[in-house]
Every structure is written in structure tokens, then in C-alpha cells.
Assembly symmetry: C2
Homo-oligomer: 204 residues x 2
Amino acid sequence: MARRGETIELAVLGLLHEGPMHGYELRKRLNLMLGWGRVLSYGSLYPTLKKMLRTHLIEESTAPVASVSKRHRIVYQLTDVGDLEFERLMTEVGPTAWEDDNFGIRFAFFGRTDMEIRLRVLEGRRSRLQERLARVQQQLEMTQAEVDQYAAELQRHGVESVEREVRWLSELIDAERDRAHTQGAVSPRLHTDQSSPVTRGEEP
Amino acid sequence: MARRGETIELAVLGLLHEGPMHGYELRKRLNLMLGWGRVLSYGSLYPTLKKMLRTHLIEESTAPVASVSKRHRIVYQLTDVGDLEFERLMTEVGPTAWEDDNFGIRFAFFGRTDMEIRLRVLEGRRSRLQERLARVQQQLEMTQAEVDQYAAELQRHGVESVEREVRWLSELIDAERDRAHTQGAVSPRLHTDQSSPVTRGEEP
DNA sequence: CCCGGATATATCGCTACGATATGTCTCATG
DNA sequence: CATGAGACATATCGTAGCGATATATCCGGG
């Protein structure tokens, strides 16, 4: 019953879903996508790719890089099985969808699901975080005092972060609901631009 | 040269530093301490304790729980070696101190170091995050457009979170500096109370 | 021409996780 | 008083993912 470890797998499926790619690029895209922190290591990526080859979710095709070149590049692409699996994972709602690591990837590919699913995942994630908050708060009541200054500050900051996360999710949920009413219009909450004055000098 | 994996070790050393404890309690305290998210698993804790026994950082003493009881409880306490090691780890500044996971624990035990160390760790952590921010920003310039709505929103939220983290660190650094001047006075920034009107009704 | 840095693939050892097993103690409720 | 739920307590197993590292090619600038 999908015991985790699908994190990377889903990410790879999602990226290959929009065209073939080779390992190195896969990693770059992934790290940009979830760039905020954690970087995906080759030590995770390549074994996963191997595994996905074994289970026929993807297939490789050693394409020559450009002209005559000894440089080899293994380009991966989805099989029909892989395509189906991606579909299955994306429509699956439940714990696996809103676990810490998984959620980010699910969210990144939200564009490929319908609103009903999106709402359920967002709400699931939110209650998960709220449960956590409640648990910590409850434990704080029991323990009370005796914690030192810095530990307390860390505590406070952690709680605040989670609360912010909850607010963010709430906004997203509202945005989805709005979108449900004003049908088809682009969400007003979701930022579309971000066109900062980029230098655009091809290369130094 | 301390290849990571000291995360839990430092935490255990720090907790035992303020008195003997048994595994179960160690876990509870730790999860409360870093409660925000990740919970420490027994699958991590017990093997670590075993390892620390082997390296003589801690020692166990099977104390009878209360009176005549078949219930066994293994109480761990620091050895002199362990005490020294804690000291060493806490005064060590460098990458290991401000890595994602390690930082939280280092911070939680800040009360046991002097300000010079604290400042260096906080500043180290801050530049780490700023580097990350710069890297993401730079990559965004290169890639630009072609990312879908949700991926972009995830991006934006991630960046915002890290920026908040940086601000938090800056405040802490300022607080430390203030404290340096007004010598010995308790930091005005760090919250001390949090005495919410708790119901205290033993159990429903 | 050669060196450094980006591109590209790959493996190894290990940390920590999540699930799970097993047993004991406490206490409320029937 | 028995019984069973739930906290307390210790422990192990399989495995995902990390970080470091190795190897090799390509390309541009000094």
C-alpha cells in the first residue's frame, strides 16, 4: 500500500510527463522546483531511475548528443505504464499525499489534476499541520516552565512557522473555491508575473 | 571530520547533560524540543544509544523503577568523556553547526555556550540561507517563464519562508549584540512568559 | 595548449525513518 | 475484583535517501 519512497518516483514521473529528459537535467529541474532547501542527491536519483526501469515505468534511449560525439547521454521517457502510474498517484488522496516531503511535489504538479483532488489534498495537509500544532500546544501545557530561554524561543518560532503554513494553505483553499465559482478564470491569489528587471545578457 | 550523524548524538548529550534519563523520556523531551515537525524515531534513538555506550560517551545503570517491580528501566548518564565531547561539539563552529537539522539542536542548547560562539553560529546559519536564496534567485532568472502556476506559487512560498528565517536570525543576532552591551541583562527580544490560562483539568 | 568549470553518469557507506513486536504498569469502569 | 484501554518502555528490521566521491567528456579563456 505504497509505503513511502514514492517521493522521488512521483517527481520523476511528473517531470518526464512533459517530455523526455536525462538524469542531470532531471536533477536540476527538481532542485529548482523544490529549491527552497533539500537538494536531491545523485545517490537517490540514479538508483530510483534504475528501479523505475526495472518496473517499466520509464524507458531509456541512448541518444547521441549532437553530431559525432563520444559523450553519451541517457534520455529517459515515460512508458504507458508510467503514464498510468502518474495518473494513479496524482488522483490518490490520503496520508501519502500530504506527508511533509510528498506534499511539495504533489503541489507542484497540481496543474495536472482537477480541483476536487486539489482541495482534498490541501485540506488534508492543513489538518495534518493543525493536529501537530495541537499536540505541541497540549504538551507545552503539561511540561510548562523549566525550559530554558533558547529552547523556548525555538519552540515559539517553530509554532509560528507552522501557523503561517496553515494560513497559506487556507488562502490556497479559498482561492480554489473562488475559482470554482468564477469558473475558468485565473485565480486572483496566485501570482502570475514576477518579471523582475532581469539583465538578460546572454552570457558574460 | 565529523561526517554528520552527530545530530542525535549531540541532542542526547545535551539532554543527559542536565541529568540522567531513560530512553523513552529522552525521546519525549527531544520531540517536544524540536516538536515543530520531525519526530525522532526509536529506530534512530536506540541504535544511537547503543553506539554511544560502545564509545563510552554514556553509561547505563539499570535502576529499579520504584519498589519491587519487574519493570526494567535503563537509565543513561553522561560519562566524563561524554561531558567533554558535549563541550567540544558545542564550541565547534563550522558547517556542521548550521546544517539544517543540526542547527535546531545547537540553538536549543545555546544557553550552555558563550555569546561569541552563539553569534558565529547564528551568522553562519544566516549566510547559509542567504546563499541558498541567491542561488534560487539566480536560477530563476535563467529559467524564467515556462513554469506552471502552482510550481511558481510553491517557489514563491519557499523563498518567502527562507526570507522570514533570515529575518528571524537577524533579530536574534541583534538581540545578542544588545545583550553584549547592556551586559548581563536578559534579552528584551526573547520571550520569557507564555503563561496562558490553562484549564489544568487533569483528564476528561 | 591546457586548465578549470559545467555537463553527465554512477556507486558506496551510512543515518535515520517508519513500522512493528513485545511486554509492563496504571487506573477507570463495569 | 477482573478486565481492558492506554501510557510507559525497550528493541529490531528493511529500506529510502544523503553526502562524498570517482570517472569521464565537453567547452571556453588565458
